[in-house]
Symmetry: C2
Subunit: 189 residues, 2 copies
């Protein structure tokens, strides 16, 4: 009964890899146990249950994504920062579709507060420092950016843009132009 050396962290990382390979919704306790060559029941010493496992993967993904975005944002401002943020987000979803899906998992309030989701909103706010927005416009703009980036990646990944010939690259680039223009000329209340 050679021990494999399981622990919560290894399970989480392997779960994230599995998610990227087969989709986050197909990450199951069984599939993960299979991957380690152990019985399902063995995982329950390390994670509480299936939900716990998924939450851990989501938190890992949020951290990774926040790190990437932070790195991309370093030393940039204005439209440069906007594009860096947006591209880091979209590229992550492209390279790690399963993890990106995991990051969309609904966390309960406390878990969310302790997660990297906080850094995400802080960084989104940081972008807006390059533009001239006072509250509550800044909050509205944060929400607009979050919605648009999330929505674009979600629809693009779902194939919703495939029915039209224009490449999603070109549209993406023009949408960044448009958002930059909008932030520079945010309408008065």
């Amino acid at each position: 009964m050679a021990r494999v050396g399981l622990n919560a962290e290894r399970l989480t990382r392997a779960g994230a890899e599995l998610a990227d390979e087969v989709g986050f919704d197909k990450v199951t306790v069984s599939a993960l146990a299979r991957r380690f060559g152990v019985k399902d029941a063995s995982l329950y010493s390390h994670v509480k249950n299936s939900q716990d496992l998924k939450t851990r993967i989501a938190l890992l993904a949020l951290e990774e994504l926040a790190d990437r975005v932070a790195a991309a944002l370093a030393g940039r401002a204005g439209k440069d920062a906007l594009a860096a943020f947006a591209n880091a987000y979209r590229d992550y979803a492209r390279e790690h579709p399963g993890r990106w899906a995991a990051a969309q998992l609904e966390l309960d309030y406390e878990t969310a507060l302790g997660s990297a989701a906080v850094r995400h909103s802080q960084m989104t706010r940081a972008i807006l420092r390059g533009y001239d927005l006072a509250e509550p416009d800044e909050t509205d703009a944060v929400r607009l950016l979050g919605s648009t980036f999330h929505g674009y990646v979600a629809l693009e990944r779902a194939g919703s843009f495939q029915h039209t010939p224009r490449t999603t690259e070109d549209t993406w680039s023009r949408i960044l132009d448009a958002l930059d223009a909008l932030l520079r000329n945010w309408p008065k209340a």
Copy 2:
């Protein structure tokens, strides 16, 4: 063995109701059979399998949503049309969260082509007639609107905006102002 009178349509409608009550991901063949007081196996004379059932619910939701949007759009143009479209979409998600989730189901290419998703993109394009956009800007704007509305509703429903005091109503209204302004001043390529 009194017959209950099942058929694909009744199952689909009941499935949609169930989705609104307990969430689309909790719509299972078993749960639906339970609701009709029949055995699981009985449903398989009417729907091919679980995936088929979910697809039918998704198609129903897309139809309903398209009908609502069409009604809201009738006789409106410009910002009026933009707001009507956006509000119809958001209100539907609010009133029918399970169906809205169903409408996000990824359909295979052929199914999507035969669905009301086509009407959705046509109607989004129709909104833009009130603005002065030539291709490929129009396509880019269609994609922007779709992304933003979808993203906003998804994040709002997931509770992502709850950490900030500003109401999501106020932000929504200002985002519509902002999008209107953006469409009127779409940046040159």
